[in-house]
Amino acid sequence: MSTLGSYLHRRPRLRLAALLSAPLLWLVVAYLGALAVLLVSAFWTVNGFTGETVREFSLANFRTILAEEVYRAVTLRSIGVAAAVTGICVVLAVPMAFFMAKVASARSRHWLVIAILTPLWASYLVKAYAWRILLANGGPVDTLLGGPGSGPGYGLFATILVLSYLWLPYMILPVYAGLERLPDSLLEASADLGARAGRTFRTIVLPILIPSVFAGSIFTFSLSLGDYITVQIVGGKTQLLGNVVYANIGAANNLPFAAAIATIPVLVMVIYLVAVRRSGALEQL
């Protein structure tokens, strides 16, 4: 053992390789490997009759996606939903996180964090179905707004509403963590030096806030972009990218086309991450 130890001690590169090989193997095989299979199968096609996969290179899937207007519409709708959900989460999360980090007492702070986390304990499906009941014709939401049919009902709006509810904790937590790192003394110093609230917010709070919000938005945006269950339950006839992928795997048994569709959110997320990286938000994760 000691000989091996001293052998490795003299060879730092080998030491590093031994240490990193297991996680790297996991990353390459399980994660990048799956992505690679996805990409490759996107270029295959399916025999329309028997459903057998035809393993020959073809651009047919991508041609269909580009030629058919519906896929553009679904992509834009999905990005719109993801952006709206992220926007709503930011608007709700920032004041909430600011209150938790800067206003609430240390004792109540812990309880508030627990309160934010409790919805995560319940199953995603249970929460989505609860919203289906809430939004049903003549359900509680309708009753609050004045009788059957006066609520939003099922549809795009309901989808955005429920997704915002589901992903809110993922926005609050990073923003809270960011604001907590901001020492109170900085705020006091800014005030002592004569800065008004607006200027303090711009020069002290905002530089900390923006990367945290971006960090949170990575969660809310990507989770919304890939979602297909909520929209199935409360979305009425709305279809998002996830539904088109699901319909092609589950119903049409067209795995290659589903893979081709699935590259769209991957592409959107890559563009989004590159944009976010420039803001320095990735260091906040």
Binding site: V46, G48, F49, T50, G51, E52, T64, E68, E69, V70, Y71, A73, V74, R132, A136, N137, G138, G139, P148, G153, Y154, G235, G236, K237, Q239, V244, A247, N248, I249, G250, A251, A252, N253, N254
Partner: protein, 394 residues
């Protein structure tokens, strides 16, 4: 190979022109049926059987205590029944491709795909004692056999119906026009079946209302006819509240009133009524699409003996009558008519009325070779239907 090349009557003539072994068969596009052996004997059960079925086909008393034709079978044969409900034919095909399931209740728009895909095996009907009592009109049809070789046992048949809330929809609808009317007072509360095969419902409606399109078979649509059907569905999309493929979702939507009008199965109407919602069903004047189902055995069945025992059991007079009454369809076994609780069931569902079923267009897989016999045009095949369905939903 010669026997295979002889061809299924309706599919013949479209083969040939293919290359090599795989292209000389009798199936669509020159596909040949994979050579699979059928069972020669049924031994003792393996202890369990994995089933893919339509909702309401496999009831063990857990939905309704009095509705149970599974428990007796399990006790008698020792085959534990593990059931998986599928919402659409496409889902059934996908599930059978996993090789995890032994038997499936396939409709006509899935059965040929399963046969030519090599996912189901030919069935030795000599091993199924109840087969002799099945209506002759259901045996050896294009959707359940190839070259006279049965690929399953007929289960039953019926029509897709129009369901409506009696308290909201007045007067009661009599035509499919009710779900396609752009000026419908029920805009936003109409529902439709979420599957590409629903395009046939629009085609059937056009067949009766737009004779100039000259549609002879709602599953054989050339470019113009297909476009007309898709356009009608895109227009209908404005009226739709939600599409359904999960039957529990439709029950809940009709109960709450989110949906008040739309296509359904009898079993869904029964469940909705059991939930005390005021709904009724009607077979519209245009006729309807429908199904004729077949129990098939997987080519990779891990429990072949239990699968054969199940296929024999599910078409036995008692079980077949039970399913037929619960699901609301015509039974396949002629002795079933004496076993139904409602003595008139077989009359109500036209079990022996071939003239009636001539009005029902059984789900069939659309092929490029027109099913109505036209040879001067190419029809839209199922993959075109699938992609068009995404554009309909928008």
């Amino acid at each position: 190979m010669a026997a295979l090349a002889a061809g299924v009557l309706t599919l013949a003539g479209c083969g040939g022109g293919g290359d090599g072994d795989s292209g000389s068969g009798s199936g669509p596009g020159g596909l040949s049926v994979p050579k699979l052996d059928k069972a020669t004997a049924v031994g003792a059960g393996e202890g369990s059987v994995n089933v893919v079925s339509w909702a309401g086909y496999v009831e063990d008393g857990s939905t309704d205590k009095s509705v149970d034709w599974v428990t007796g079978f399990e006790q008698e044969t020792g085959c534990q029944v593990n059931n998986k409900i599928a919402g659409t034919s496409d889902e059934m095909v996908a599930l059978m491709k996993t090789g995890e399931y032994d038997v499936v209740s396939a409709s006509g728009d899935a059965s040929l795909r399963l046969i030519y895909g090599g996912d189901v095996a030919p069935v030795n009907t000599d091993l199924i004692s109840n087969y002799k009592d099945v209506f002759e009109a259901l045996k050896n049809k294009t959707w359940n056999s190839v070259d006279g070789q049965p690929y399953g046992v007929p289960h039953g048949r019926g029509a897709n119906l129009l369901m409506y809330r009696t308290d909201v929809v007045t007067p009661a609808p009599t035509s499919w026009g009710a779900v396609f009317d752009p000026a419908s007072p029920h805009k936003g509360k109409i529902t439709a079946y979420d599957s590409p095969i629903y395009i046939a419902d629009a085609a059937l409606y056009l067949m009766k209302t737009k004779p100039e399109l000259n549609i002879k078979n709602p599953y054989a649509l050339d470019d113009t006819q297909f476009q007309a059907a898709v356009d009608l569905l895109k227009q209908q999309n404005e009226l739709i509240g939600e599409y359904w493929s999960d039957y529990t979702k439709e029950v809940q939507a009709f109960k709450a009133g989110n949906s008040v009008l739309g296509t359904t199965w009898q079993v869904i109407a029964n469940l909705t009524k059991a939930d005390k919602a005021p709904v009724e069903v009607v077979l519209p004047t245009e006729g309807a699409t429908g199904w004729s189902d077949t129990w098939m055995i997987s080519a990779k069945a891990k429990h072949p003996n239990c699968a054969y025992l199940w296929m024999n059991h599910i078409i036995s007079p008692k079980a077949n009558a039970g399913v037929a009454e619960w699901f609301g369809e015509a039974p396949s076994n002629k002795l079933s008519c004496a076993e139904t609780k409602d003595a008139n069931h077989c009359d109500t569902f036209h079990a022996e009325d071939e003239a009636y079923f001539d009005q029902v267009w059984y789900w069939t897989t659309p092929l490029a070779q027109c099913l109505d016999g036209r040879t001067d045009v190419t029809c839209k095949d199922y993959s075109a239907w699938t992609q068009a369905w995404t554009t309909v939903k928008g």
